[in-house]
Amino acid sequence: MSFIAIFTVFVTLSTLGMFGLLLLNLNYSLKMVQGQVRVTIFLKNGLSKEAIQDVGKRLSALNIVKDVKFISKNTAYRRLQEELGREKYILSTLEYNPLPDSFEVKLVSPMYASTLSRRVLSWKEVSEVVYAREIVDKLIALIGIVKKIGIAVVFILGLAALLIIVNTIRLMVLSRQEEIEIMKLVGATSWFIRMPFVIEGVFQSFIGAALSSALIFYGYVWLVKNIVWRFPFIPLVLDAKPILYVIVVVVIFGVLVGLFGSLLAIQRFVGGRSFVKKE
């Protein structure tokens, strides 16, 4: 048993798991922000009640639209008064309410904001479409970058764990090379020789993965307890299911790395061709 190998696998998988949790929470935060992105569709003045209702129906029928809310000009005026607060006296200088009727639309994804905008601008009832374009574009770009980084990190850490296991098992094999040669001479098959090393590799990875799972789980619980009450505005995943999912992925990943790593490490020494020396 190599404690260094177990410890190294533990560190690698813990990092992988924590990164997984980070991605999970980032994704969760992004989804929350996404849900707050609104497109405001301003209507032309003088539309009849039926015409306005028709626009609302047409918007609701679009599959990229999640929610439609009508904001009458009066509601808009009241909102503006609340936003202005002490400065609301400015509005008293106006002879009439200049704010138009509008629809506030929530989309299934901020990616569709520009699509919706182009579409509804062609409707005769619509005068203008406004959305926080820059924020939306940056959000989409951020999601893309985070996913790419996530894949790269998983790949690199996975490769690191694999190489460590391969190296550890290879050292074990080298230290028992004479025994392996004798086993080949007396009639041991490749699988008979391989099995103890493969079991060792899988076992070490499993121990490393189990320890990292414990760290990930209890570490996250501690983090949540300490962040939620101090910084309640930070959105964190509080449901146990996704966390357990990350842990299960880490354990399965660890065991697979142990299995393939040890098979790879020993192949050169017990592959079929190794029974006959090339001299």
Binding site: E178, L185, G187, G272, F275, V276
Partner: protein
């Protein structure tokens, strides 16, 4: 396997253009006891290694038990080797296993049930007269005792062929004779025995078939031969 060994036009050239064997034609019958003699570098070890397919010939064919070794698949080599016992000059015992474990592990490898292992191991250890040393480790044994354990390990699987490369090289004359007695008994029970040796006294006294090698070629092959090349 039938304990038959045949070679036809076998040549072995190692990397660096080293010709170890040249055009060897050989036929060893089932149950024979054969000495392989020759100066160092004459090809004795190479010839033995070809028999258990540790290496392959550069030219020619090797047949063991009627099987052409060139056509033997890599995956079948372990099963082929289970019927050949090999005893090395340097014993090749596993240092962290006891005498008993060194012999028992061969039976484990070939899949003999555990309950049968103990009796078979004790039987061969008795035969080679090291049963009283069964709990000791190789470094705790004398050279002669280690050689006996190596023989026990080779014969515990009841092979058809027993190969031994310089089995008495490191031993005193009395111990060397004791070892040869063991080989003779094994041969009497039907195992084909092939021994590479420099021990002139033993070869001359035993009056068995002697194949002499020199510079990779067979220079003489005599029934009841004497040591000489």
């Amino acid at each position: 396997m039938f304990g038959l060994i045949k070679m036809f036009g076998v040549t072995k050239v190692f990397s660096g253009n080293i010709v170890a064997l040249r055009d060897i034609d050989l036929h060893i019958r089932k149950g024979e006891f054969v000495f392989l003699v020759g100066p160092t570098g004459s090809g004795k070890t190479t010839l033995m290694r070809l028999i258990y397919k540790d290496i392959v010939p550069t030219k020619g064919q090797v047949y063991v038990g009627g099987e052409n070794l060139q056509k033997l698949k890599n995956s079948h080599i372990p099963y082929f080797r289970r019927d050949i016992g090999v005893v090395f000059q340097d014993y090749k015992l596993i240092e962290d296993k006891t005498v008993f474990e060194n012999v028992a592990f061969v039976l484990e490898v070939i899949g003999v049930p555990k309950r049968e292992c103990e009796s078979r191991v004790m039987e061969v250890l008795d035969r080679v007269k090291v049963a009283h040393r069964r709990y000791l480790y190789p470094h705790q044994l004398s050279g002669g005792e280690q050689q006996r354990v190596a023989i026990a390990r080779a014969i515990v699987k009841q092979p058809s062929i027993l190969l031994s490369d310089e089995p008495t090289g490191n031993l005193d004359p009395k111990t060397a004779w004791d070892i040869m007695e063991i080989f003779r008994d094994i041969n009497i029970q039907g195992t084909t025995v092939l021994i590479a040796t420099h021990n002139k006294t033993i070869v001359d006294a035993m009056k068995k078939r002697v194949i002499a090698l020199k510079n990779g070629s067979i220079v003489s092959d005599l029934e009841e031969g004497m040591y000489g090349f």
